[in-house]
């Protein structure tokens, strides 16, 4: 019977791929529960690529009897709502960092109630109660808490003998002291919605954690579609007043609202900025990798007893209700959850970064980066940010208007309140194009049809001879139907870079070797089958020598042998950081190949731009091709 299931599975896989190459269908299919070789198949959608850093290899190693499919998805509930709206089944395990019960409520009927599970029992009740629905169900389990607050270059403070601040007044004094030295006291990437949200809430945590503040928050988190809750008129005016004051106190300059990550971090690393907003993980990373001793400071109150650090779960995790139908699969998923929420699992999730656990019996020692926030931790001054989708969007909009001087504190409060009561997703309606053919993102012996379609589209739009995606670049199946801008952006995985270059055939072979073969020191660029390179205009063969390890075979260009001396124009799409970073794949691109790579296609060119521009030309996600053939080593 298992053989028959496997055969049927293989046939359906082949049919899906072939159908995906040439056919037309309205929906795509998820793999069924029967995994390869009779294994239980579990699909897990990751809110961010960072989850691939340690968690996914650890899970695959810990559960060899489970066939995992890890897909890089998006950090918003809207992504999963869209999946369901397209007729796709809910993946077995989903994760999302941006979370509120309000946002998650439309998914509730598709998610399993975990309140009676063993894994839920491992949580401290008070943390879990936050996620309890009115019905008593608990569908989302918070992953360990990330601390996100003010990061200070301690070396700089020490260098100039400026004491690390312990309250708001000292914080301002430090800013002023640095600025007297020509060093920016505090700066941050104001461009992003999360920065706007966190700084806005961070500067007024005592107010938000007051009796009135917590009371309002509980009301807000319990709101229903028919009972929209606006801002509290006692607490929130003070929040905006303090935020306006904060912007002033940190010497916010015009156009700073456009500052992105790199323009902020680089001066910090260069000693030109003393403090920025960052996570404890980043502080540790800068300390260890950049040699800049960085520490986390709290959001300051009037006295040190009013200081708070801002936290949020690294992500929230939920399980599809479909899992309940298969007892064996349910048990397997529960075991996976128990592993993830164990001490070892949470360390894998944190990938060595400082986090705080919500679970009993889990002890993660705080890193030195948190030593100046320890008082806050000990006194339980841990503020969990309010992180609903609308609050993110409105915070960005209102904060930017405050930064541009369009609003004073009162105006900001009123606009925020108005938007909160009548929130409309600005990107949810407009249809940009209609996709005719659907392509599955199931990964088979010839790769992923959806990934191939995307890469063929990018190559065609850019007019290159060959396109190489470092790994599977799609975050979801490609549907047949209307696409809004938001949906287009969700097609391609988040955080990719795009380059072009002219390479000889021999160099292209080396690029593929870099992307496929296990390196001499054991580093493996392909940690999971979904991370197999996706090519367009180029076909290649790999041999799986052992589970998860591959050797590059033949390469052809449009079916003809790759000519070593011929020069081809190549589009390269992917995440350098993920491949090259020692804590990820540890597979740096050979320098000579990197040198031939032209500068990033366009400055600050994002994957959003990349896919949007391509579709503006092709108007369709093009037909996939069989770009890879995976052979098993005998």
């Amino acid at each position: 019977m298992k053989k028959l299931l496997c055969l049927l599975f293989a046939v359906s896989m082949s049919a899906t791929l072939l159908g995906g190459c040439a056919g037309r269908r309205n929906t795509t299919e998820q793999p069924d529960n029967g995994g390869k070789e009779g294994k239980i198949a579990i699909s897990m959608y990751m809110w961010d690529r960072s989850m691939f850093k340690e968690l996914t290899p650890w899970l695959e190693q810990k559960f060899p009897e489970i066939e995992f499919t890890f897909v890089q998805s998006y950090n918003t509930m809207e992504y999963y709502k869209d999946l369901l709206a397209r007729g796709e089944p809910m993946p077995d395990i989903i994760t999302c960092r941006r979370f509120s019960l309000n946002d998650a409520s439309p998914l509730a009927q598709h998610l399993m109630d975990l309140s009676q599970t063993e894994v839920a029992g491992t949580f401290y009740s008070s943390y879990l109660e936050v996620n309890r629905e009115n019905s008593g169900a608990i569908r989302w389990l918070p992953m360990c808490a990330e601390v996100d607050s003010i990061m200070a270059n301690k070396d700089l403070f020490d260098q100039y003998n400026i004491p690390l601040p312990t309250n708001y007044a000292e914080f301002l004094a430090a800013i002023n002291a640095f600025e007297a030295l020509g060093i920016k006291g505090f700066q941050t990437d104001w461009k992003y919605d999360y920065t706007c949200l966190e700084t806005m809430q961070g500067c007024a945590i005592p107010e938000l954690m007051s009796l009135e503040g917590t009371k309002w928050r509980m009301e807000y988190e319990s709101e229903t579609a028919n009972n929209q809750v606006g801002l509290d008129d006692q607490v929130w005016p003070k929040v905006f007043e303090k935020y306006a004051q904060f912007l002033t106190d940190v010497h916010f300059q015009p156009d700073d609202e456009e500052l992105a990550f790199h323009p902020v971090t680089q001066p910090y690393l260069d000693g030109q900025t003393a403090m920025i907003r960052a996570t404890a993980a980043m502080a540790e990373s800068f300390t260890e990798e950049e040699g800049i001793t960085s520490v986390i400071l709290p959001y300051f109150g009037e006295t040190s007893q009013d200081n708070w650090v801002l936290t949020y779960p690294m992500c929230q995790l939920a399980v599809s209700r479909r899992v309940e139908k298969d007892e064996a699969k349910k048990n397997a998923v529960m075991e996976v959850l128990m592993a993830i929420f164990s001490e070892e699992g949470q360390k894998a999730v944190a990938a060595g970064a400082s986090v705080l656990s919500y679970n009993k019996e889990v002890s993660i020692s705080p890193s030195p980066a948190l030593q100046y926030a320890q008082d806050c931790i000990d006194s339980n001054h841990l503020y969990m940010r309010l992180a609903s989708t609308e609050v993110f969007a409105i915070s960005q909009d209102v904060a930017h208007k405050m930064m541009r001087g369009e609003y004073d504190a009162r105006g900001a409060y009123e606009d925020f309140n108005a938007q909160l009561i009548n929130y409309v997703n600005p990107e949810s309606e407009e249809v940009l194009f209609t996709q005719e053919n659907a392509y599955s993102n199931d990964f088979g012996v010839h790769g992923s049809a959806a990934a191939s379609s995307l890469m063929n589209t990018l190559r065609a739009a850019n007019g290159e001879q060959i396109a190489i995606g470092y790994a599977s670049v799609v975050s979801s199946p490609i549907f047949a139907g209307d696409y809004t801008m938001q949906q287009i952006q969700w097609v391609m995985t988040y955080k990719n870079d795009a380059y072009r270059g002219e390479y000889t055939g021999a160099e292209i072979r080396r690029i593929m070797d870099w992307l496929v073969n296990v390196k001499e020191d054991g580093s493996n660029p392909i940690r999971h089958r979904n991370q197999m390179p996706v090519t367009s205009g180029l076909e290649y063969t790999v041999i799986e020598t052992e589970r998860g390890k591959f050797t590059l075979g033949d390469i052809t260009v449009n079916g003809k042998p790759l000519e070593d001396d011929t020069v081809y124009t190549v589009l390269l799409v992917g995440a350098d950081t993920y491949l090259e970073h020692p804590t990820f794949c540890n597979c740096p691109m050979p320098e000579d190949l990197k040198a031939k790579r032209e500068d990033q296609y366009i400055d600050n060119y994002t994957n959003y731009d990349c896919i949007t521009d391509a579709l503006a030309i092709t108007k369709q996600l093009l037909e996939p091709t069989e770009y890879v053939t995976i052979l098993q080593d005998k």
């Binding site: 599970t117 029992g121 009740s125 008070s126 879990l128 917590t214 007893q305 931790i377 339980n380």
Partner: protein, 833 residues
């Protein structure tokens, strides 16, 4: 067999009753144990729950007492002393002052945030006491009991409530159960099963949700778990049994009456039931012991009964064995019993050496030695047939053997049976000595053969006599008739007439002698055929008119009309009987006398039969009473000189009587000397359908034979000449063949349809008439060979000869001497058919 069945049934009923009783007792015992145990557990865990409840109550009481004191306490030191003393009494973990915003301050001045979520508003705004679970980093989960207090200040900390906390582990003590040797576990759980107070023993360590634990239980269904969840939500109490890893546990649950907690008590059932189970098992053992004792006594009784039965049976067997031994020694039968698988001799009767001349021991050693006794080579071995006999079946053989000691030939009738003896297949051979019977039978067989040979010789003799006399008679009569047609002189004519009359008399004499001889030897059979019985009388009367043509005798007839004239009868024999009687009447009645012929028909023995009665009365010479007694004897003639006057063989009436007897009828005669005689014949005949009669009619149509071509096969020249003269007188063209071969040759060499008929003698040299007929009939390329009429013309005159001719493929039979009228009739009939 029936008795055994009854015993078996009684045993089964007893066993079933015992099992049912045991099961019922076990069920009752288990139910009682469950009821008693759970009641006991409920009581114990209720006390534990009560202890927790007391702890909570005391905590509330203390805090309510502290609040007024704290408001009026003269100094911080007094407050600290007061609270520390209370902590010693109440055993709580920490004491907190709580601000309006949820901040806390300990007595020692540590500050922090106590997350009471929505209960903070209840506490501060609603002024309600609250209990909440909370957590402070790096500390165990705590249970907070907080009450509102008048606004106060401690160490510059403005507070509006006070609280004490218990680490959840502290509450474990309240729930601890000393009974059951530490194998009892107690938990406090939330309605969704999450464990908030964990006092689990070794077996139930490291569990976090009680429902997740129950899901592993094989004895609980999902519905039962849902019901339990519902009970937790509604605060119900109860008890049940579940199992973990195959070990059953009692679960007792009771609402803690605060925070939605439910207190659970879990104890392995074997621990709780230990004493009661021991009582139950002891009771079971005692009862089982008694039952087994009774069963043993019953068994001994049955064994005793069986022994007596066996003794009786042994006695019977010994008696039977003695009887059989005596029988087997003294009878002329050898008995053997063989094992069907190996043909091992299980038994051989001791008389085998006497009857077969082989020692018993030799047969026991190898049963195949029996096959060597057989005197005839090629006789199938009996032992080879044995495997084909199925249980309950038998096979029989007759075997001629040689007595191994005397060398005499002996005969045995062997019967082999196959029996299934308690599942073991056995062959039983009964070799019965039939030598005496065989010898008697052989003698009888010899006698029969001799008689049959004599009879055959007589028949052959008669046939030969008949044939050999008829052949010259044919010539004599034939040539006499030819001579008479040559217009001889009167003296010669007279001589010729005398020759012919003498010849005819001689022929009649021969025929009668042969007939009586054949009747006696059973050659003549009664052959009834469908006939019109009135036509028989008509035929006889037409013959009689010939007899009477030159006589002056008054002939009267009285012919009744039967209701159904169609009957099954041998018309030839009837005709012969009547012609014989009427011929005698004519012969023995003087001219001027009279003869009366009556035919009447009477009801028979049943609806199908009628009785035909013929009566012939004459006014002839009559017979004496003494002669009438012998009238039907062979060669009987009254010594009255009539013999010389009335020529006869003395066989006519004997033949008539035999024919009547043959037909199942009766003949009687009344006669008075000088007055005449009356013969009455009664014949039973069976009615039949008219259609069967009609099918036999072949009326002659062609009477003119001019130009008819006949091939005559006749080896005897004289007979051939007579036949040719007579046939040619009729205008027939005759071609003669001297024997069968020549006849076939002439027929072959002539074109088809050259001849209209073949007349075939039977006894011919080279190729007889039968074979010649077969050769002609079988000619493949001559379509006329099958249809040409072939008539036997032979001195073989008997009925079986006629049948033999027909069987050989001929169409008719003429016996010699040839009577011209008969020839004409046969030719005409066959040419027209």
């Amino acid at each position: 067999m029936k008795k055994r069945l009854i015993v078996l049934l009684l045993t089964l009923v007893f066993a079933a009753g015992a099992i049912w009783a045991g099961f019922s007792y076990y069920t009752f015992g288990s139910r009682t144990i469950y009821t008693e145990s759970t009641a006991h557990l409920v009581e114990i865990f209720h006390q534990a729950n009560q202890a927790l409840h007391n702890l909570v109550s005391i905590s509330w009481s203390h805090m309510r007492m502290w609040a007024p004191y704290l408001e009026t306490a003269p100094s911080e030191a007094d407050i600290q002393a007061y609270v520390n003393q209370a902590q010693e009494e109440s055993n709580f973990t920490d004491f907190y002052f709580i601000s309006r915003n949820g901040e806390y301050l300990t007595l020692e001045g540590q500050r922090g945030y106590l997350d009471l979520r929505d209960q903070l508003a209840d506490l501060i705004l609603e002024k309600q006491p609250v209990v909440a679970c909370s957590v402070i980093p790096d500390k165990p989960e705590i249970l907070v009991f907080a009450i509102p207090a008048a606004q106060g200040r401690y160490r510059d900390f403005d507070y509006e409530a006070i609280a004490i906390t218990f680490n959840n582990s502290d509450l474990v003590d309240a729930l601890k159960i000393s009974a059951f040797d530490g194998q009892a576990s107690t938990f406090a759980v939330l309605p969704d099963g999450r464990i908030v107070v964990d006092n689990g023993n070794e077996d139930l360590k490291d569990i976090h949700n009680f429902f997740a634990l129950l899901e592993k239980s094989e004895s609980l269904t999902g519905a039962e778990i849902s019901d339990l969840h519902e009970a937790f939500l509604t605060g119900d109490s109860g008890a049940m049994v579940f199992d973990i890893n195959g070990r059953p546990y009692y679960l007792v649950y009771e609402s803690a009456n605060f925070q939605g907690w439910t207190v659970l008590g879990v104890v392995p059932t074997d621990v709780v039931n230990a004493s009661m189970s021991k009582l139950q098992s002891t009771t079971m053992i005692v009862v089982s012991g008694i039952a087994i004792g009774l069963a043993v006594m019953l068994l001994l009784f049955v064994i005793q009964q069986n022994r007596q039965k066996l003794r009786r049976k042994d006695h019977e067997l010994l008696a039977r064995d003695e009887l059989f031994s005596k029988l087997s020694v003294n009878v002329d039968d050898v008995f053997l019993m063989l094992d069907a698988q190996s043909l091992r001799v299980d038994y051989v009767s001791p008389n085998i050496e006497k009857l077969l001349g082989i020692p018993e021991a030799q047969v026991r050693e190898d049963v195949h030695v029996l096959e060597r006794l057989v005197s005839q080579n090629g006789t199938t071995y009996i032992l080879n047939w044995l495997p084909y006999i199925l249980p309950g079946e038998q096979m029989e053989w007759d075997r001629e053997c040689i007595h191994q000691l005397s060398g005499e030939t002996i005969w045995f009738h062997v019967v082999a049976f196959c029996s299934d003896i308690q599942g073991e297949k056995k062959f039983i051979l009964d070799m019965s000595d039939r030598t005496g019977d065989k010898k008697i039978h052989q003698a009888l067989e010899d006698a029969v053969n001799a008689a049959e040979n004599a009879s055959r010789a007589k028949t052959i003799f008669l046939n030969n006599i008949s044939h050999d006399i008829r052949t010259p008679m044919n010539a004599i009569i034939g040539f006499t008739n030819i001579a008479l047609k040559q217009d001889p002189k009167p003296e010669v004519r007279s001589c010729l007439h005398k020759i012919r009359n003498s010849s005819e008399h001689l022929l009649t004499l021969i025929n009668d002698v042969l007939d009586i001889s054949r009747i006696e030897s059973g050659k003549i059979k009664f052959a009834p055929l469908p006939v019109d019985i009135t036509a028989v009388a008509d035929t006889v009367l037409s013959i009689m008119h010939g007899f009477l043509s030159d006589r002056n005798i008054t002939f009267r007839t009285s012919l009744a009309v039967p209701e159904t004239p169609y009957v099954l009868a041998d018309s030839i024999r009837i005709r012969e009987v009547l012609v014989n009687i009427l011929g005698n009447a004519v012969k023995f009645t003087e001219d001027g006398g009279s003869i009366t012929f009556e035919a009447s028909y009477h009801p028979g023995g049943d609806d199908r039969h009628i009785m035909v009665r013929y009566r012939v009365t004459d006014t002839g010479v009559g017979m004496s009473e003494e002669y009438v007694k012998h009238i039907f004897d062979e060669f009987s003639q009254e010594e009255t000189g009539a013999r010389t006057h009335y020529k006869g063989t003395g066989l006519g009436m004997a033949i008539t009587k035999r024919y009547v007897d043959l037909m199942g009828g009766t003949i009687s005669v009344e006669s008075k000397k000088g007055q005449g005689s009356t013969f009455t014949v009664e014949l039973p005949v069976e009615g039949t359908d008219e259609i069967k009669i009609q099918a036999q009619d072949h009326p002659a149509a062609k009477t003119y034979l001019l130009g008819v071509k006949i091939l005559l096969a006749e080896d005897n020249d004289l007979n051939a000449e007579i036949a040719m003269v007579q046939l040619e007188e009729l205008g027939i063209q005759v071609t003669r063949a001297a024997d069968g071969n020549e006849a076939v040759k002439i027929f072959t060499e002539n074109p088809p349809d050259t001849f209209d008929m073949i007349m075939m003698d039977i006894m011919m040299p080279a190729l007889n008439g039968y074979d010649a007929t077969a050769a002609i009939r079988n000619m493949p390329d001559r379509p006329d060979a099958r249809r040409i009429p072939i008539i036997a013309m032979t001195a073989n005159a008997f009925a079986e000869d006629v049948q033999a001719s027909l069987d050989a493929g001929m169409n008719g039979h003429l016996s010699k001497p040839i009577v011209l009228e008969e020839i004409v009739k046969v030719i005409v009939r066959n040419l027209n058919s």
